[in-house]
Each structure stands twice: as C-alpha cells, then as structure tokens.
Amino acid sequence: MNPIVDRQAQQIWQSQPLEGMKMSADAIRLRAGKFERRIDRRNLRENIAGVFVIAFFAHSLITTHEILFRVTWGLFIVGMIWILVHLRLKGTPRSMPGDMGASTCLEFFRSELERQRDLVKNVWPWYLAPLVPGYLALNAAFIYHSPHPIRWGTLTLMDAFFVAVFAGVWMLNQRAARCLQRSVDELTAAQDAK
C-alpha cells in the first residue's frame, strides 16, 4: 500500500470530530456506584421469576395435606433453589472484573466464551435434572392419591410432553455450546498462529 494512503487512513481516523467526554474521579465513583446498583437490579430481575415459583410451591406445600404432594412441592423447591444458586454463581457475566487489564483481549474474550459454553453445555445437571425428582414425585402423588380411576393415557401424554420439553431444551443448549466452541477454537487457532 502506498505509504501516503496508509497515513491518510490513520489521519482520517484520528482527526474525526469527537464530543470530548471528560469524567472527574468523583463522577467516576458515582457512576461506578450506579453501575453496581444496575448489576444488583439485573440479578434481582433474574431471580424474581424463580422466587415467584418457589413461593407458589411453598404455598402448595403448606396448604396440601397429602404427604406425597408435600414431598413433591418440597423437591421442586429444593430444585429451584439449586437452579437459582447455580445461575447466580456461574451464570452472571463477569461484568467488570478489576483485573481486566491483566488479560490480553484474546484471553479475556475466550474465557468469556468458555464460561458461556460450559453453562449451556452442562444444562442437564444444573437446570434440568434438579426438577426431575419433583416431577417423578408428582407422578407418584397423582397415582397414589387420585380419588378417581387413573387415566393412564393422559398421564403418559403428560410425561411425554415433559420429556419432549426437556429434550428440546437440552438439544438447543447443545447447539449453542457447539457454536460457542467454534468461536473458542477460532480464537485458540489465532493465538497459536505464528
């Protein structure tokens, strides 16, 4: 490339009109505080649906008299808590780690993609499996406590729907994990290239 053109591209880029934003250290502190509160609100929003579901299960647990239904709601509550704790520990993005400058762009971006990949790839143990005991107990409770003759066809249909939803969620997440893995592989190849 002609060095004049080369320099021209850099000149056009560097001489572009800017707003000239400036922030004092106090403004930065204020903004950092707002940022933390925004993260807290986001975490609360993520948890609020789970809290509602737990409250529903807790209400059912308190109001039911059948022991198997109590076990069912109890297992669902434990499963939901497990999911929420896992989401909180591993699902929340690394919003603004203090050591950001210590990682190269490649390392940082790859670790973010790997974290997301692991989360969606391992969706079975932390998102789907915790709800299975509760669902099995619910089946048993329906069969054992039903005042009417059991409609096996309806029950089978319900179970098939449950399995189909779980299989669908699992497959979608595996596909997302493969996409993320491809991006990770690209970055690894870029890092290894001489």
């Binding site: 490339m1 002609n2 053109v5 080369d6 021209q8 591209a9 850099q10 000149q11 056009i12 880029w13 560097q14 001489s15 572009q16 009109p17 800017l18 707003e19 000239g20 934003m21 400036k22 922030m23 004092s24 250290a25 930065i28 502190r29 903004r31 950092a32 940022f35 993005p93 690394r94 919003s95 603004m96 203090g98 050591d99 950001m100 400058g101 210590a102 990682s103 190269t104 762009c105 490649l106 390392e107 940082f108 971006f109 973010e112 970055l187 870029a190 890092q191 290239a193 001489k194």
Partner: protein
C-alpha cells in the same frame, strides 16, 4: 464538538510514574492522554449515540477500577487498551444477543458489498464507511484494525490482543490491502467527478 488529532500521542504515556500515582491520579492522567482514543474506540464498537455514551462511561469506570490492581506487569498504554477493548468486546457480545448481527473476519472483508464500491471521496463519508466496516468485524479483528488506525506498531498490538507479532503483521497486511482498495476506488470516483 472539537477535532482531536492524536497521530503521535500514543507513545508518550509510558513515562507516567506508576509507583507514586494513586488510582485517581493515574486514571486522570490516562483519561487525559487517551480520552480521544477511547472515544474513537467506543465509536467503532457502538453506532447508537446513547449506547455509545454508556459504553464510553463504562470503559472509564472499568479503567478507574482497574488501576487499583495495576502492578506494572505491562505498560500503562497496553493496560488502558486491554481494559477498553475487553469492556467493548463484552458490550458487543451482550448487544448481539439483543440485536443479532453477522460479524465477519478480515479475510471476508473484500467480499462485503460496500468494500469495493466507494461512493464518495470526502473525509466525512470515508470515515462513516470506515466505521461501518469496522463495526461489521469480529471483536479480535476489530481490535487489530483499531490499534492499527491509532498508529500502534505490530509488537504493541500483539501485546494488547495476545496475537503473535507475525500474525498481527499478516492481519495488518490484509487491512492495508482493503483500505488501499477503498481509497483507490474513492479517488477514481472523485477524479471522474472533477
């Protein structure tokens, strides 16, 4: 609006006395030195003006926070660019979930419909097209082209991104080829009009 020219400003910051600087002082010095570069960087990552302002503030907050843990393992300039690019890359990933967009690598740039059909030779339009091109790039390629446009050498770009200097040189070669194509097409059309 003010016009900032920064062609030769990138190498002077190494002289900042890290050991005696407090977090606030270090931040203020770097914000003064790199404020314009950071604003250009934010512009390359976010087209929407409001979101861009948010991104820029987020970069400044991350920078200020990061200086609490700055241990001099790399130059201040490398640290500043790493923090800025890492925040911006996270922003891209987050925004892609909200506004899906296909990103391409440098090697695919020449196939973009706009790449070889320069419509105008004036600086403002060239800059806008350049921005459009950069915003279509995958994060790692975007980091390389931005650092190149800021006037950084291959070794410095390698230190920031984590790519080998050889690989950076290859990418810069591609960037130069694409830019040459753009400028050639632009000047031909300009010549035909005059």
């Amino acid at each position: 609006m003010k016009v900032v020219s920064a062609i030769d400003e990138v190498s002077e910051i190494e002289a900042i006395p890290v050991a005696s600087s407090t977090q606030d002082e270090l931040y203020q010095q770097c914000a003064g030195e790199y404020g314009a570069a950071l604003e250009r960087l934010a512009r390359a990552y976010e087209a929407d003006a409001d979101l861009r302002r948010d991104l820029l503030q987020e970069i400044h907050v991350a920078l200020w926070r990061s200086f609490a843990g700055f241990d001099g393992r790399c130059s201040v300039r490398t640290w500043v660019y790493r923090v800025a690019h890492n925040v911006a890359a996270s922003h891209v990933v987050h925004q892609r979930r909200a506004r899906p967009q296909t990103l391409v690598g440098l090697e695919e740039l020449e196939n973009l419909p706009d790449a070889s059909s320069a419509q105008a030779a004036d600086r403002r339009q060239t800059l806008e097209r350049l921005l459009g091109l950069i915003q279509h790039l995958k994060p790692l390629d975007r980091q390389v082209i931005l650092a190149y446009l800021e006037g950084l050498d291959a070794a410095s770009i390698g230190e920031i991104t984590g790519l080998s200097p050889g690989h950076v040189a290859t990418k810069i070669h591609r960037i130069k080829a694409v830019l040459a194509l753009w400028f050639q097409a632009g000047s031909k059309e300009g010549g035909m009009r005059s």
